[in-house]
Symmetry: none
Subunit: 428 residues, 2 copies
């Protein structure tokens, strides 16, 4: 694949490196670069430690990236050193930008007026602390602060874009920074890509691997496709990136996938099972009856705005009494078959349909563990029923892998897919 | 702080680099290294692209880390190449571990037997695909797979630990890998630290910042403490790391925190509100009634093993009909005060207590948005009631910030804290 503009991201901050704070900037910038057709090669994370930051800048320069974006380390406190390190990296001196210092001072004044926590008395000392933020490497272009920290675009090889850590500051500043002549030159060689996502359910990753190997043999120009597959909660996500002239190659691949795994492929346009279920539920009223997932399915069905159009409600029937009293499950049924059984799942679904006056119901009952497993019903055994009014209940029992939370998580995903299949098979 | 064992983490995976999947392994391993007193210098992320992975390994070796941990790229698909690259990095050849191949085959067989949703089609081709996973660099130590991918510890300078991407596989395998002689030698120089976590709720981060500034002035030897604070869902987590001889300094800090923020500090031993609530619920029976959170609180209360001892169940009363029919909320009450009001929250809690024959109930009703807000009840308005049988209901209305999912998430956390306070104030 011809790639002629490469970038790297340097994320600084002890709280990010140590995982106290999840980095949201790397992924966000990665998306922007992807949209631009710039190849992101590396993201590197380190503490606010000058030697480490400089080492990462040199590493990325050695990797011949055209653009480096740094995030974080622009605050007024002594441990924020990114600008100083970038200046040293280029061998340039730091110069006080007086006009910028005034802009920062103005921002601070209004901040302090709004924020009682600051003590308006020692404004000069605060301003002094912030003078540091007005010291910039010679010949760099300033990006106006959204908070108090200005950003920088430093021309050179590679071009270095310096942005603050807080996402709400970084994001608007990125859009200005990428428009600067220096940044535009850096990414001039970018290629436009297409990116397509196919989602599959109920297919082992190795089964897909086999199909891809076969496709590699059968389809000329196959390596024009950059394919990544990712297994998540029983779903496989396959993302393919290619240049426009390889579109026909991709079409052939999708054809082979459909031939081999038609029933497992549930989305070719990137839409998720949640999107599909939401569409299929249009004009319907759904109710849930959950035991081991204890509300996770109901919560997932109401993730999106407007879900009140189809979501009636649900019962978390964690105890057998609750199954009996709230869902009207016959206690004899529980005694005969056990609480984790398809007959009980059927009865739970029927109860939910009735109690919520719904036309669609899903029931889940299972053993999430670690306790409660038996020889014939080990931990991970989960029974599902999807009931559409006027149809016979569709039940299925599975044994799901993983620990308690994996099993609960995976159960909600399985339920979403059983619901999707039932709704697509039945007339609206 | 004297540190004599350094580590780096290489996270591979296009889906992680491009932000389609959030990396959970880097932060998790960072925590483990922190506990061990190993200094984590760099986390680097790249695609499953051999040249990039090898460049990152060389970079970390040049930075003289003692241990490199790689995550991901161990799957059967052709785009998983970490082991191959690690072998090249050390200049060693890949050898088929026949006995390991059989173990992987056995795992696959049982996986497929357990999953009717998986099409059982040609097992041999699948086994062939997985042969790749049994190819290991000469002289490396195998860590048994939790999924299908084995891990490796490769002795050398630095020592390289190769672990799979899925957290539920990586985490147990880490604990074995770190015990290997090679890994132990790599981290032999580590310093032992203490790490303490204090959690606060209902305190603005700037308030804590003030207190820390004051403590820095007042407490001698304060900079022996490495403090990182993190605001999450209305809770502040403060993690302090120090060498044993600074224990007295830390004690003084905790004293000042208690003096200033006694009511907000709810945990000094790292335990979470979920742990405290679980303890306080011992011997009780709890039921939930949820509208906008739609089961998220019930799901959270049942996160942990053994929760069936106290969890009776819950109702997701998303529609007004459900509030009336399943929880017996008087429809006149809804008409008079609106579905999002303290009287309705009280009635929902009372209904849940009655329906599930419980002694403890929590109700949540609110406007998660983006629609449904009004002038006097804007999006983010959420009403909570905690009801302990024999006590008057404790109700509270809040206006929570953020988008739909922030508001739902934050609401469950607020409910957990209201529950904690109610249960701690009342005699068991």
């Amino acid at each position: 694949m011809s790639v002629s503009a490469r970038a790297g991201i340097v994320v600084t901050g002890t709280e990010v490196l140590t995982g106290r704070i999840q980095d949201r900037n790397g992924p966000w910038i990665a998306d922007r670069l992807l949209e631009l057709g710039v190849d992101l090669a590396h993201i590197t994370i380190c503490r606010d430690r000058p030697a480490d930051i400089e080492a990462q800048l040199r590493f990325l320069a050695d990797q011949r990236v055209d653009l480096i974006v740094t995030t974080g380390g622009l605050g007024p406190t002594a441990d924020d050193m990114t600008v100083e390190v970038v200046a040293r990296f280029f061998g340039r001196e730091l110069i006080l930008d007086v006009e910028l210092e005034d802009r920062i001072a103005a921002i601070l004044k209004s901040l302090m007026r709004r924020n009682p926590v600051f003590d308006l008395g020692n404004f000069d000392s605060i301003r002094a602390a912030n003078r540091k933020q007005a010291m910039i490497p010679a010949g760099s272009q300033v990006i106006d602060p959204v908070g108090t920290a200005p950003g920088l675009v430093v021309a050179g090889t590679p071009v270095v874009m310096v942005l603050p850590g807080p996402p709400r500051e970084l994001q608007p500043m990125w859009h200005k920074a990428i428009q600067t002549s220096a940044a535009q030159e850096a990414i001039a060689g970018r290629t436009t890509y297409r990116q397509e996502t196919i989602r599959m359910f109920g297919l082992p990753e190795s089964g897909l691997a086999e199909t891809l190997r076969a496709a590699e043999q059968a389809i000329p120009g196959f390596d024009a496709l950059e394919i990544t597959t990712c297994l998540r909660r029983g779903e496989i996500e396959m993302v393919t990136r290619y240049e426009p002239d390889a579109a026909e190659v991709y079409t052939q691949l999708t054809r082979q996938l459909r031939d081999r795994h038609g029933r497992q492929v549930f989305s070719e346009d990137g839409s998720r099972v949640d999107d599909l279920v939401a569409q299929l539920l249009g004009g319907r009223r759904i109710a849930t009856a959950e035991s081991c997932t204890a509300g996770m399915l109901a919560a997932r069905l109401t993730d999106r705005p407007g879900s009140s159009d189809y979501m009636a409600g649900g019962v978390v029937a964690y105890s057998n009494e609750a199954k009996a009293h709230l869902l009207g499950v016959d206690e004899a049924l529980i005694e005969t078959h056990g609480a984790v059984s398809e007959p009980v799942a059927d009865a739970m679904a029927a109860g939910a349909l009735r109690r919520f006056d719904a036309d669609t119901a899903v029931a889940i009952t299972g053993i999430a563990g670690p306790g409660g497993g038996t020889a014939d019903k080990p931990v991970g055994t989960v029974c599902f029923t999807v009931l559409l009014s006027g149809n016979a209940p569709a039940s299925q029992s599975l044994r799901l892998p993983g620990n308690r939370s994996d099993i609960r998580e995976r159960s909600t995903t399985v339920a979403m897919h059983l619901l999707r299949r039932a709704l697509s098979d039945s007339p609206a």
